[in-house]
Symmetry: C2
Subunit: 238 residues, 2 copies
């Protein structure tokens, strides 16, 4: 069995210990630090030792995601489906902010793990319990997409609208080359208290997005919308 050189007893590896160490390493050193070799080092073990607990790197990454998804608050029996979903998603969001690498890993995943399916299932059941039709819920889940995991839909963390850290020359160039972006970037003084690097209040933007969707869904539900209603020749599907 593995023992530390300094005489201390090293507890044996386990799948769980491997996954937790990997999550911790990714949290502090970023996703690019996750290699079987580097991870094994942090566990004081030889690279191949990991393969006794994890089939390959892909399974390692899947397991890391399961750990992260497991941190999302469980559903609570909530009378109002909108508030319930909203709280759940915002809880997911705080988890994903703790593990910023998780998004890229999930996006590269070939298929959802059972843990992910279970989370998705519980969100769906919240909608159904709120009285939404299965048909409507289907479309809503597609429309929400990865937002249910608390992911912003931005592609680039440093938003193109970020006016931060621009030299006057760069700013002038932006103004000339991308007048729309410039106009929008200048449009609002941001709340200095809850700001991320981009200079935007990310929390506000996120809530704006999910509220836009959830309010729209509520309106569809109220008017008894059904996907078979719509005329496929219409410009809009709603």
């Amino acid at each position: 069995m593995a023992k530390a050189d300094d005489g201390g007893q090293r507890q044996p590896l386990s799948r769980d210990r491997v996954l937790r160490a990997a999550v911790a390493l990714a949290d502090e050193a970023g996703l690019e630090a996750i290699s079987m070799r580097k991870l094994s080092q942090t566990l004081g073990v030889v690279p191949m030792a990991l393969y006794k607990h994890v089939a390959n790197k892909e399974e390692l990454l899947d397991g890391m995601i399961d750990v992260v998804v497991g941190e999302i608050e469980p559903a609570m029996g909530d009378s109002d489906w909108k508030a319930a979903v909203r709280r759940r998603i915002l809880s997911a969001r705080t988890v994903m902010l703790r593990h910023p690498w998780a998004r890229r890993v999930m996006e590269a995943q070939a298929a959802p793990t059972p843990v992910i399916l279970a989370y998705t299932d519980s969100v769906i059941r919240t909608f159904l319990a709120g009285g939404l039709s299965a048909d409507l819920v289907h479309h809503v889940m597609h429309a929400l997409g990865s937002r249910i995991f608390g992911f912003t839909q931005e592609l680039h963390e440093t938003a193109p609208t970020a006016p931060a850290d621009l030299t006057p020359e760069q700013a002038a160039y932006m103004m000339a080359a991308f007048p729309g972006i410039a106009a929008v970037a200048m449009s609002r003084p941001h709340d200095p208290n809850s700001v991320v690097g981009s200079g935007c209040d990310d929390e506000f933007e996120f809530e704006f997005g999910i509220d836009l969707m959830l309010d729209g869904v509520e309106r569809l539900q109220r008017k008894g919308w059904d996907s078979s209603d719509h005329d496929r020749e219409d410009a809009s599907v709603l």
Copy 2:
């Protein structure tokens, strides 16, 4: 200069030729086929030759994305902002369906290229020209996120709601373990004419998503919504 062994004259490489070959290779062999070595092979050249035209692999990938984004239809002078944005996004979507690997590349990108900024800018200007306030446009762009590039927001191509290719045992297990998913998956017979692997009408789901957002935005605009209106203690931000 490089010449083909068979006596035929080989036209010299160029950044453009490299990028186009890379896009073609990714289209037919997938993103994992994109390595400097394999790409150089398809160009009949030694790996290091590519570095005379592209600084490194990251720049190669950026360039590939620029090629793809360049395929999106330019904006047309459209009186109705909603229809204009809708058409533009749907055009982007058909481009991205041709290059399914583009999404992952863009998501891994550190920063937007000028080409991406130019496209983003033109979408913003469409909104502004339609009379939306810069403030509203700001939030809308965040809310739309990567949807403006025509990306579905799904994490996994094979949606968890896909009932296809399940053995009866698997189906029974799904029903028991994930009743919500099962209920939603069973809820609607899909249009067999425009179906992707998932068994869902992806085109419909995509349009449902953007229409949900654009309709919501139109409503906010009509009632003169302003981000400074809302009370930050409210449950909803709208």
